[in-house]
């Protein structure tokens, strides 16, 4: 667990200073009953989005939650897509991330499955066989258009490396979402982004003009 901390020392130090400052500024009133709560930073304030250059989706055969062999390319489909990296025995961020995907699938409406597909790639092929993935996916109401993928470790790791989701130790993985427009443009969303934020990032990538017009 200390390794996870050591990976992002700056991030934690900054968070700590903020916490400390907030407590100090508030005279610790937040802790006592009756005091008006200090306004909290909005959720998702720590989400960062950056373009990903030179991503080539590798032509690898993976296995989906139904045990069917599928090309990563085919799972991503012809249009835009969002990919998350999770594993079913994960203890913290994977459930919230997957819940965000479930909501995103719902919010995308008609474009989900047609123009936009979702893929959840496992970081742990040794444990996450198709059966484990299917059980996990069912908990979140997976629908057609959202694929959970596992596969041979070498192939999976090729896919993860190419997409920037390769975690050296799976417990150190970060809440990452890779978004592609299907035309070769990619962005990396780092942090637990809300469904609305992911939807906005997908739209911004697909229709950059509209985005720059916005105030």
């Amino acid at each position: 667990m200390s390794m996870a901390l050591a990976t992002h020392p700056l991030r934690h130090a900054r968070a700590l200073v903020l916490v400390g400052a907030a407590l100090f500024a508030a005279g610790c009133e937040g802790e006592s009953k009756g005091a008006p709560p200090v306004p909290l930073p909005p959720p998702g304030a720590d989400v960062r989005v950056a373009p990903l250059a030179k991503v080539v989706v590798p032509d690898v055969e993976l296995v989906d939650q139904d045990g069917q062999t599928v090309l990563l390319r085919d799972a991503l489909g012809p249009g835009a897509f969002a990919i998350q990296f999770v594993f079913t025995t994960c203890t913290t961020i994977c459930s919230p991330m997957t819940a965000v995907f479930a909501r995103l699938a719902h919010d995308l409406g008609d474009s989900f499955g047609n123009d936009i597909r979702l893929v959840s790639l496992t970081l742990d092929p040794a444990i996450d066989g198709p059966e484990a993935l299917r059980r996990y996916a069912d908990q979140f109401g997976r629908r057609e258009g959202w694929t959970f993928l596992t596969g041979r470790p070498d192939r999976l790791s090729r896919a993860l490396r190419a997409l920037g989701g390769d975690a050296r130790v799976k417990e150190e993985h970060r809440p990452l979402t890779v978004i592609g427009d299907g035309q070769g443009k990619f962005v990396l969303v780092d942090g637990l982004a809300s469904p609305a934020r992911l939807r906005a990032e997908i739209a911004a990538l697909r229709h950059p003009a509209k985005n720059t017009e916005a105030p």
């Binding site: 916490v19 610790c28 045990g67 203890t91 919230p96 040794a126 150190e172 609305a196």
Partner: protein, 524 residues
């Protein structure tokens, strides 16, 4: 910890304690050992919330994440998922889920500077995802808990990590088994009990496992209600784990709904089980090994399955079908399932002739196999496979014509050492005055007992079922003597994931290997 967070945190925390520390806070219960030995009704309901995300009426616990639009519910929202089964907390993906044991929750936290929690601050953390002015991590859901559910959870949090483990006391670990103690199989039950008792006596003579002896708690599987009722009775008798007992379609749970670990069960692992450890591969896995063997000699063998229409027969058929689904070059198998106990050899032979399969997988008994082979003409020379279990302890009793034509898939070891160990087990059983005739089940009991001991040794001096399961999952090539070496992992609870293809030598009338050790990838 303090060093990592730097002195700034300490100073700020000190300031906070000075400024805000005047309020009195409830103390965590002092004598947790006594008060937590048996949970009250509220704490039990809280436990279901904490571990399973299940409310008092069975309704799922619901938590909102991020901007509140995404929701987690039920097991994926359960506190234990992130904060750990003993409330130990975790750090993963750069996100910390703090410890929730009473000593951490109700004392000041040096790292964040938070004072000990009280009802109001707990409420704010659970419902609003904040501690004072500090927003909790983005992975912490805001739970929609009503006041009574919150009180239940609060009652359980006072005991989190301090519960007494069922079946474990200072000097004893109680292990349950449902074995035949009456009726026709009584002798086999007695042999199983003697085999287990012998292992446990040996361990006790060595000083026990962390100074605890193992107590075997037995129920008669031939008693009222049959084997599953016997297992259910055991579940209420505070056993830590189960060994080599009959297993129903649902895993066995204790009064609190916690799954009881079960080693080497006599039956297939239920789909929902998380703590069942099989020693040998199930029939579905054996069918896949048959497929792998057949595929080495023939490119696309079209299999025909002949098996009883029961759980075992369907496992064989489905295992073969699953194996074929992963290999595109293989034709789909056909299947002929018969009513168990009424096998019509002539009809099965006629059906086989009509289908012209490349290979047959036979799931009936040794007698049915003999009848089937006699009904086939000598022209129907298709390779035929069957699980070696149908031979029981007596390969010599197999019809010689069936012995000539059939290959058996055998997950046990085939060598002289094994026969020596079987002889040794027979001698030990006889020394205990137990019947040593048919000892197949006694072997299972012995393997289960030795695996149990190893798991307990690895689980440490304060064994919990969860630690025991995790310990078993670390076994790699564990030698138990009477079985091929066992390996388990998080993703695999089948100890032996391979088999030999063997035949019954027509002269020596015993099994001989015809293949290398063949393995398949386990899928849980």
């Amino acid at each position: 910890m303090i060093e990592r967070w730097g002195m700034g945190a300490v100073v700020l925390m000190g300031a906070c304690l000075l400024l805000g520390g005047s309020e009195s806070r409830p103390e965590a219960p002092r004598d947790r050992g006594a008060s937590c030995a048996s949970l009250g009704p509220a704490a039990r309901r809280g436990k279901a919330l904490y571990h399973q995300g299940r409310g008092a009426e069975g309704e799922p616990l619901v938590g909102l994440v991020g901007d509140g639009s995404a929701r987690l519910s039920g097991a994926s929202a359960a506190c234990a998922r992130c904060h750990g089964f003993s409330g130990e907390g975790t750090e993963e993906g750069g996100i910390a889920a703090p410890a929730l044991t009473p000593e951490s929750l109700f004392s000041p936290d040096a790292r964040t500077g938070r004072p000990g929690h009280d009802e109001a601050t707990l409420l704010a953390a659970i419902r609003e995802g904040r501690v004072g002015a500090r927003r909790l991590g983005p992975a912490m859901p805001r739970f929609t808990l009503d006041t009574s559910a919150l009180a239940d959870l609060r009652a359980y949090l006072a005991c989190l990590g301090h519960e007494r483990e069922p079946g474990v006391s200072a000097g004893v670990i109680r292990v349950g088994a449902a074995w035949p103690m009456s009726g026709p199989a009584k002798a086999q039950g007695a042999a199983m009990a003697a085999a287990a008792a012998d292992v446990f006596a040996e361990i006790e003579a060595e000083g026990g496992v962390f100074r605890r002896r193992i107590e075997l708690v037995l129920e008669d599987s031939n008693g009222p209600g049959g084997p599953h009722a016997a297992a259910a009775r055991l579940a209420r008798r505070e056993v830590f784990a189960m060994m080599s007992s009959p297993i129903a379609a649902e895993p066995l749970r204790d009064d609190e709904g916690e799954e009881i670990p079960h080693l080497a069960p006599l039956g297939p692992t239920p789909p929902d089980a998380e703590r069942v450890f099989q020693v040998r591969p199930g029939l579905d896995m054996l069918a896949q090994i048959v497929l792998a063997h057949a595929a080495t000699s023939r490119r696309t063998p079209a299999f025909h399955v002949i098996a009883p229409d029961d759980a075992a027969g369907r496992l064989l058929r489905d295992g073969l079908a699953r194996g074929q689904a992963t290999r595109r070059d293989l034709a789909a198998p056909s299947a002929w399932l018969f009513v168990p106990g009424s096998f019509d050899a002539a009809a099965a032979a006629a059906e086989t002739r009509a289908r012209v399969p490349d290979a047959i997988l036979f799931g009936g008994t040794a007698e049915e196999l003999g009848a089937f082979v006699r009904a086939l003409s000598s022209a129907d020379e298709v390779p035929m496979y069957a699980p070696s279990a149908i031979l029981g302890d007596a390969p010599a009793a197999l019809d010689p014509r069936a012995a000539r034509r059939t290959l058996f898939v055998h997950a046990g070891p085939v060598d002289d050492h094994v026969s020596a160990r079987v002889r040794d087990l027979r001698a030990r059983l006889q020394a205990r005055g137990a019947p040593a005739g048919r000892i197949g089940l006694a072997i299972s009991a012995e393997v289960a007992a030795r695996t149990l001991i190893e798991g307990l040794r690895r689980a440490g001096g304060r064994p919990t079922r969860r630690a025991f399961v995790a310990a078993l999952e670390t076994l790699r090539d564990f030698e138990v003597g009477l079985s091929a070496p066992l390996s388990f992992s998080r993703g695999n609870h089948v100890g032996v994931t391979g088999a030999y293809v063997v035949r019954v030598d027509p002269v020596a009338r015993e099994i001989v290997r015809v293949s290398e050790w063949l393995t398949v990838a386990p899928h849980r």
